[in-house]
Symmetry: C2
Subunit: 386 residues, 2 copies
Amino acid sequence: MKRVAILGSTGSIGQQSLDVIRAMPDAVQVVALAGGRNLNLLEQQIREFRPLLFSSSVQTDEHEGSEFASMEVIAGHPDVDFVIVATSGKAGLGPTLAALRAGKTVAIASKEVLVMAGEIILREAERHQARILPIDSEHSAIWQCLQGEQNEPRRIILTASGGPFYRYSPPQLDQITPEQALRHPVWKMGSKVTIDSATLMNKGLEVIEAHWLFSLPFASIQILIHPQSIVHSMVEFADGSLKAQLGPPDMRLPIQYALSYPNRWLNPCFPRLDWSEVRDLNFEPVDCGRFPCLNSAIEAGKAGGTYPAVLCAADEVAVDLFLSHGIGFCDIGRVVQEALQQHHSISQPSIEQILGADEWARECALNSSLVRTTEREQPRDSWRGS
Amino acid sequence: MKRVAILGSTGSIGQQSLDVIRAMPDAVQVVALAGGRNLNLLEQQIREFRPLLFSSSVQTDEHEGSEFASMEVIAGHPDVDFVIVATSGKAGLGPTLAALRAGKTVAIASKEVLVMAGEIILREAERHQARILPIDSEHSAIWQCLQGEQNEPRRIILTASGGPFYRYSPPQLDQITPEQALRHPVWKMGSKVTIDSATLMNKGLEVIEAHWLFSLPFASIQILIHPQSIVHSMVEFADGSLKAQLGPPDMRLPIQYALSYPNRWLNPCFPRLDWSEVRDLNFEPVDCGRFPCLNSAIEAGKAGGTYPAVLCAADEVAVDLFLSHGIGFCDIGRVVQEALQQHHSISQPSIEQILGADEWARECALNSSLVRTTEREQPRDSWRGS
């Protein structure tokens, strides 16, 4: 019986984690739930799963048998074995460190945790002999492909659907509305991740995450556009052999794999790949030049220090601004790039320095994007020819 | 240092095994070579590798430092650790049993060994704690995908290029010449395997082989047509996750994997998959009805007893007859089917009974095919419309 805490239980990954657990009542017990702003849903989850502990960013009712606690306390609680970190933004950073320091197994769905503080996270995991497991479909795919292999992979290949706008021209990209961008063709995800998928920032964050999770240099991490999202990622070994992990695009599968590892559970609710429908799998090398967010992310990852924290924070602000019609789709990349250019990075930063860089970048992005908004109201006909 | 015997060193797999070993002089030592009718090549190999032992089906020169021995003696010799069985037809049966009884690791490229006598082979391997490793690209792919997995696969999916004639109509199939059939679009193989690929008999034999190698019922073994031969096979697990093994179509890779297992060796001679060239991977469920050899093989495998031995022997005779223009391409399947229909199978046969069925089937196929040859000289215009 795995005793699980879900941090971010009301988000997309949190809800899908509870879906998995609902189907596996004999294998997993929900010991703690931590939700965000969707209080109604959190209350409902508490009533259904009756966790020992719960946490919320807003005031909640009292629940008989469930005690309120901070996410850090939950993450390190002796009755918790396994912590799913599915919070948004930097919120997962502190609880992840608390969980690792208490020797818990941490399944990470929140990209920012490793992107912002990969070095510290890995050091603490090693020091306390705590395991970090991936939940992202790409990283889960790589992890699955690495099972039983004795040698380091030669390279890993992250697949990317390319998002809904991969074939758009620059003028077309500039016209994208939040409503269009929120309609992802394949994956069911939260709005921040959906926009990050459309800008390919999401893939850039995954590259940095993979760098830490699998201890690989950036040169050994490649991206292939694969519109069908059936091959979730691949690993190439020294001998030229590759392994790929495939499956229907359903986040519940990597969530369950993290819970069931090293075993696999038969889950009657899961879809199966139907090969009479999946006839063509297409691949093409990614065109980094067309998606500046991807480039910025990889450069920030290579530069290290507090750059990745700035990347995350500036992107979060820029995506929020885009969603509230404050800036255009292409401005997201520009806002991020400006913040990175203006930043003075600190190498081997402490958590406090990382959080300081995050604060600075939010401020910087807000200012930068305000300027962009004004600019955007002027005609841009000179662009059309590009 | 692995001390290796190669049985069938002058065949396609044998030569490619020596290619691999040439690149890995510090890891593998050739202790014994056994060749077939290509005496010139065998003599050349003996001069190059100076094996302790050699074997040949024809009279050879004496070689200083190399002693003549039968394949059975080689397979069980104390200086041999690892036996590659790459003989053709039933020739590998006796030596494989000798190797297993001496506790050697046996890498099997010869399909007939497991198809004809899978039950006996597995029993002897278990009794003497000897390992059987696959060399076929499909079975190697499945084996690679199973590494590190704790649970039984839900099913395995053997990919099949479909051969050069997969889209041919029945009248077109009937007109295929040996010269056309020997030009396989992807794989470099011996002539028997090339024809078996075109009739899909090869895939049928692989299904039976997979049944034994991975202890799976026939219902859990599926076939997908995949013309590019990049995905060499796949495994589906209980949770719906699939793993695939991919690579350039080059037999040296699975040969080396068997030798390097559980490690992988960097081999500078090996090609690498270039994703700027591999853009589309296509899959479709196999249409068994159009390729009677595939059906016959699966039925023979399910029926068991001496049926699989009859399948192999009748097919070998039929392919020979086709290559010498004695029968037409479509007659191969008919000859095999006739032999199976006329056969009285023995259940749980001994090796002697299996070899008896082999003899009987050869006779039967030769007679049957003679009739077919006469028939074939008559005009067949009535077929055109089908």
